[in-house]
Amino acid sequence: MVSENLVKDVVSEPYKYGFVTDIETEKISKGLNEDTIRLISEKKEEPKYLLNFRLNAFRKWQKMKEPNWADLGYKKIDYQDIIYYSAPKQKEKISSLDEVDPKLLETFDKLGIPLTEQKKLTNVAVDAVFDSVSIATTFRKELAEHGVIFCSISEAVKDYSHLIEKYLGSVVPANDNYFAALNSAVFSDGSFVYIPKGVKCPMDLSSYFRINSGDSGQFERTLIIAEEYSSVSYLEGCTAPMFDTNTLHAAVVELIALDDASIKYSTVQNWYAGNEEGVGGIFNFVTKRGKCLGKRSKISWSQVETGSAITWKYPSCLLLGEESVGEFYSVALTNNLQQADTGTKMIHIGPRTKSTIVSKGISAGSSVNSYRGLVKMGSKATGSRNYSQCDSMLIGDQAAANTFPYIQSQQPNSEIEHEASTCRISEDQLFYLQSRGIEFEEAVSMMVSGFCRDVFNQLPMEFAAEADKLLALKLEGSVG
């Protein structure tokens, strides 16, 4: 009667961000070589050091091999069949948001991210990225009054070159890994945040990434610098249209926290995941890393990963400063033929550093959901501590969940604690809730929410609601 089929229906809600915006774009031709990179750099009127950074990365990338250690199977990516730069055609210089193409504004409106002065969100500043370029950033003036810089990385290259030159690639080096090297070579845009000393950012900052074009990859780059005694909460959201081809998304995010600074970075990832047969969907290969450079600095990653055909990402913390703190809170939901290999790396270098990992993986359909994490205690990390908790929930009997924890310790005076569990939503649990009058969809959703609670509690208010809604969309049908 109930069970299998209904569970299937419930977790297979249609993707509602799958529309395409019909807009004239400027695209370069497919393929990747040094000329492509020179062309991108030229289009963006970049300084010499940045072109060199790109070329250097490209040369390293050419010598590297695509990693195959993750528990992922996918069609080989043809890197010559991708367009590396695609931007909506706009007027040369835009002086205010009102000059942005209405079609673009409408697109973001439809995604729930209104940008115009009248409609913009009241408590969150937004940088909206469409394919390869940032099209608008709200609240810039208000933020500037506090000394906070929030703009696209392209603008930052022009206006704050000294910061870019100093920090770009300082956390994720150009040759860090295959996808980071590719990104370093061809990145087109992304967000830049600078919080000056002693400033608590007066509002949440947010980037919204939209892939619109089917044949171009998205390679954005985000850089956040928090000076001493400053703090910021940054949110990131992403969606893409439904195409039956796979689109490559290879992003790099670098965070730097100085003494007593704190950065909270939250992601709700809802790229198109492909259809039930596994056709289409985004290939999401992302390198996110934060450097707790200062004493008592703190970097906290929270992520809700629900989209993409393939997810490969390990937001990590390098805990250099003494008593610095790293956190990773993750919910990863996979359905149909989605595959996710995600987790974190907590590298304890300084003394008395602390890290917490809470990962919740939910697999439904025939999906595969793996947690992969490294906790490393360096030789100087005396008195450091880690706590990891990795829980998996299976829905149905075709889904798979794996946990791959790697633990390395060179410091006997440190503590590492790892807990893991796997559970299945059992027919008995569903029946129990139903036998109290609770609808099937709501019963599933209650159990999933309950399972994710530890992570949802870490999300900023605005996002917690969005995350709940997103899981609800994927898991509970029309019940709201």
Binding site: Q429, F431, R436, E439, A443, S449, G450, C452
Partner: protein, 261 residues
């Protein structure tokens, strides 16, 4: 169905019910009828089909009805989902209440109560009003409000789980409550608390089926009828003295009955 004298319409009628799980027949022709205000006891050995009967009435998806019918307030309920049965007033007290980690007991109780209230066209309760209501009902089963903030049944003792079941019954105000071995695993004080809770919740409109092995629950709650079940059938029905007889002669007596058949 045409209704005759309203008060006498049975709440629940099970007619010649046959059911199986994975092609294994469990129920082999059960008939039972419960009128408003009546308390029925079903007794019998483990494995005779008592729990199966209760789960089938509540709509458990693993069992298949092969013959017969179940009517609730005159309507066949076979096509109804478990939640629809619950909303319309069928309550099953579980022999082994299920643990659900991460889901708060309070939230669960509120959602369940509102689902029932919605069915009854009553206003749904917000968190504040619901807390007032639940605190009042907690007294019935002498439970501490600390239970509310915990996950559903998680880490509850056997007795606490059973009291939580009765608390749910109190909130849902069912038309018929089938209580599957609610007395098992309870010490004598807890048994009295649970029994007095059940008595306070039920009234002349409610039907109750107590599934039990022991006379001691029936000492607290006097049944109007006692049914003895064996091998998927009700083999004997009597009044409360039948339970005493059973206590005296044991289930061997029912074994003999099956042999005779």
């Amino acid at each position: 169905m045409q209704s005759k004298t309203k008060e006498l319409d049975p709440i629940l009628e099970v007619n010649n019910l046959f059911a199986s799980i994975e092609n294994l027949p469990i129920l082999k022709g059960v008939t039972i009828s419960v009128n408003p205000g009546e308390i029925h006891a079903i007794m019998g050995r483990n494995g005779c089909g008592k729990s199966t009967l209760s789960k089938i009435i509540a709509g458990h998806p693993s069992y298949k009805i092969t013959k017969g019918e179940i009517k609730f307030t005159g309507n066949d309920i076979q096509s109804l989902e478990p939640e629809e049965r619950a909303q319309s007033g069928i309550f099953l007290g579980f022999q082994y209440p299920i643990e659900i980690p991460g889901v708060s007991n309070l939230e669960f109780l509120r959602v369940a109560t509102n689902a029932r209230r919605k069915f009854l066209n009553k206003e749904e309760l917000d968190t504040f009003d619901f807390e007032d209501l639940v605190k009042e009902k907690l007294d019935l089963v002498k439970m501490d409000s600390a239970f509310l903030s915990r996950s559903i049944n998680q880490g509850f003792s056997g007795g606490e789980k059973k009291r939580n079941e009765i608390l749910q019954m109190a909130l849902l105000e069912p038309k018929i409550a089938i209580l599957d071995e609610t007395d098992s695993g309870l010490d004598i004080d807890a048994l009295r608390i649970v029994a007095s809770g059940i008595k306070k919740i039920s009234n002349e409109q409610t039907g109750i089926i107590l599934i039990t092995h022991y006379q001691r629950l029936l000492d607290e709650i006097q049944p109007d009828y006692v049914h003895v079940m064996a091998d998927g059938q009700i083999i004997k029905t009597g009044e409360s003295d039948l339970a005493l007889e059973l206590e005296k002669y044991g289930y061997e007596w029912t074994d003999n009955f099956i042999k005779e058949q």
